[in-house]
Every structure is written in C-alpha cells, then in structure tokens.
C-alpha cells in the first residue's frame, strides 16, 4: 500500500502494470516519478501502449498533436489527473 497514491492513481498504476506486463507492484510506483526514461524507465513504445490502454478503458483518445502531451505523460500523477479531467 502506497499512501502517496490516491485511489484513482492506484487504478491507473494497475492499468500501467497490466498493459505493459511489468514485473512490478503497482503500489510501488511513486506518483511523482517520471514515467519516461529515468524514473520508471519506460520508452516511447511503452508510452504508445499506455495511450492505447487508456483509450480502451476510458474512451479517451490521446493524440500526437495534443499540446499537453509533454505534461500528460510526465508522471503517474499527471497522467491520472489528465484522464480524470477528460473523462468527466
């Protein structure tokens, strides 16, 4: 149990772990750590998988020309916030 994760962040963390098939406990993901490269060590192919999983689960299309892309994929927290804002 990671007390730093909110309930929704935990849900997204589980989605990341299952969609990327990570050998990792979802609760252990630091919500503020960068997802890309350093931090969780994901690459651009993982990011694509994440975008697909999000569109499948929440019906949110993430697009390449989205000006907020740099911040959306910054961390688990930023990603969760962006999904929460868009699915509402």
């Amino acid at each position: 149990m990671n007390s730093e994760q909110t309930d929704f962040e935990r849900e997204i963390a589980q989605l990341l772990v299952s969609s990327l098939n990570l050998a990792l406990d979802p609760d252990s993901i630091d919500p503020k750590a960068p997802l890309f490269r350093e931090g969780l060590g994901l690459d651009s192919i993982d990011m694509l998988e994440i975008a697909l999983a999000i569109s499948q689960h929440y019906g949110i299309q993430l697009r390449s020309d989205d000006p907020e892309n740099a911040t959306i994929f910054a961390s688990l927290r930023a990603l969760s916030a962006a999904i929460a804002a868009r699915k509402a």
Binding site: L24, L35, G41, L48, A51, Q56, D65
Partner: protein, 340 residues
C-alpha cells in the same frame, strides 16, 4: 563492439559520393557505372573488417570460404544499389525498374483502410521502399529508423531530393509514436528495420544461417504496440537487364495485428521467429544483397544492459494468427538470375 557498424558506415567519403552523384546524374548510367569500380575497389582494399564480416556471412551461408571474387562482386552490388538510390531519389530517367511480388495481400489490408507495417533488413535496398509509394497513387510511406545514422550518405541523398527525408521519422519523445499510430489508422505503410541492434538495445537470440545471432527486440515491440499486420519486405537487387537495373520488391506476410492484451509476448516471439526465418530464406535466394558489412553474429551478441523494467513472460500461446502464409519463410521462386 559498441557502435561498430555505425562508425563503419561513416567510412564512405563525402567526396566520393559527390563525384558519383554528379557523374551519374549528368552523364548517365554508363558514367555512373564506370566510377563505381574505383570506389568499390577502394572500399574493398581498405576495409578489412568488412571483408572479414562478409567472409563469415558466406561461411555460414555456403559452408565454405568465399573467393575474393565473390567478396568483390558483393561490394560492387552494394555500390550499385547506392548509385540506384541516387537515380531513384532524383527521379532520373535511368531510375531502376521494379518487379513486385506479394503486394496483393498488403493491398487487401489497405483496401480496408488498415495500415500495414513492413519489417525489412539490410538486405537489398531498403530505401527502395519509397518505390512502394508508386504502387498506389495515394499510398503514403513512412520509414522509422534510428535518426542520425550515416549522416554523410543522408546529406548526399538530401541534396538530390529534399522531399525524400520528409518521410523518415526519428524515434524521439514520449509521444512520438502516437503520430505513427495515427498514420497507420489512415491507411499508411510504415517501414521498420529488424536486423541491426544498437549497443544499448535489448535483443532476442535466434538461429540465423546455422549460428546464434541477436536481433533487436524494439521493432517487434513497436509492431505489437501499433496493432497492425506485419509483412517482411525487401527490395532485392537482381542485376541489370538490357542496361537497366532491376529490383524485386518482395512482401511476405509474417503476422496479423497483435492481440490487445496478455498474449503479446507470444505474438512477438512468433513474429521474431518468422522474420528471421524469412530473412534467412531471402539471403539464400540473393546472397549478394546482404549489406551488413561486419561480423553480424559477433557484433550483436553478449550481455546487454536492461534499461527497462522486467516483464512477465508467461503469455498465452498461439496468437500470431491471421497469417495467410502457407510455408513461413519460404519465398516463392523469384525467377532466374545469373548466379542464384
């Protein structure tokens, strides 16, 4: 072994390429051909690692040491394909001719608006993939590669036709691949290379021409993430006919689109297996089209760093379906040509 092949490719002198370009385009094919010999001879003589790498390739392929003549002819074939790229990109009247095999299956996907991935190798002239753009008037082709490889050659090609580079997509930031996904959704054709691994790239081992070789896993993961059907692709140089160079563009179905969840690991394993088997079959068919001028088996072996977190490998089996291929990795008879 770091970036051995990367550095080797840089050997080509800008000067030599420029001379070849000017001669070839101004004075036509015969002049271009004439200048090929000294350039080829130069590389052949002062490129011992390349010769040694090729020797290993022929030993694996034919089980015996190749003659110097075989090796020189191999270098000459490579030089010809470089020259042909110049003609092709400049849309010159001496541009090579193409014969196309296996595109029907690709076309069926495209008819439905489904984009297709073609997985190539440094076998033949991958740049001739652009010729695939001529297969259909509206077909858009995009080639994904490690940006910055062999800038000298690219510069020369750029000078020939500035439009050419537009369709080469570098792999960069976290969302760079979303654009590729969208490109496929619009029915585009995406080209990837599946044979060379950079120093820090994760690889998988496969039997290649009887010896264990290591191939990059990245292209397989990317193909899986893009959820598009995958075809093997090569533009094989098949020698001149009546003075005009002839290429055979071959497309072989490898796998249907990757499954959405869980079983992707097994899908990638099957894709890798079919890719290497198909590559091997085409090496046997057109041996002198192999343009990895280094010891392929040695250069990509050894312990590789794991940058990415560990994955669970216990995926379900048998998911690489959707391939209409009867005998995977067995190219059909591609007609006759001198030595093969």
């Amino acid at each position: 072994m770091a970036r051995a092949w990367f550095e080797r490719r840089e050997r080509g002198s800008r000067w030599g390429l420029r001379v070849a370009r000017v001669l070839a385009l101004r004075f036509g094919r015969r002049a271009g051909r004439a200048v090929l010999w000294p350039i080829t001879a130069y590389f052949f003589c002062f490129h011992p690692e390349g010769r040694a790498g090729l020797r290993r390739y022929y030993e694996a392929l034919e089980g015996r040491r190749p003659t110097l003549g075989t090796l020189f002819a191999h270098y000459l074939t490579f030089a010809r394909t470089v020259l042909d790229r110049a003609y092709l990109l400049a849309r010159h009247r001496d541009a090579p001719r193409y014969e196309i095999r296996g595109f029907e299956a690709v076309g069926r996907y495209l008819d439905e608006g489904q984009g297709v991935i073609v997985l190539g190798a440094h076998l033949g002239s991958f740049e001739a993939a652009r010729a695939a753009a001529f297969l259909r008037p509206q077909l858009k082709v995009q080639v994904i590669m490690h940006a910055g490889v062999s800038p000298k050659l690219n510069e020369t090609l750029m000078a020939l036709n500035p439009d050419a580079q537009e369709s080469v997509a570098p792999l960069g930031g976290p969302t760079s691949l979303l654009a590729i996904k969208e490109f496929l959704a619009q029915g585009g054709l995406v080209g990837l290379m599946g044979d060379r691994a950079l120093a820090d790239e994760a690889t998988y081992a496969a039997d290649f021409l009887g010896r264990e070789a290591h191939f990059p896993s990245g292209p397989l993961r990317l193909a899986a993430a893009l959820r598009a059907p995958v075809f093997f692709f090569s533009a094989l140089y098949r020698g001149p006919v009546e003075g005009v160079c002839r290429y055979e563009l071959v497309f072989e179905p490898l796998c249907g689109p990757a499954p959405g969840t869980g079983a992707r690991g097994e899908w990638m394993r099957q894709l890798g297996e079919r890719y290497v088997r198909t590559l091997q079959a085409y090496c046997r068919l057109a041996p002198d089209n192999w343009f990895n001028f280094y010891d392929f088996w040695q250069a990509q072996s050894g312990d590789r760093p794991r940058r990415r977190p560990a994955r669970d490998g216990d995926d379900a089996a048998g998911v690489c379906g959707g391939s209409p291929m009867d005998r995977p990795g067995t190219p059909k008879d591609l007609g006759t040509r001198g030595k093969s």
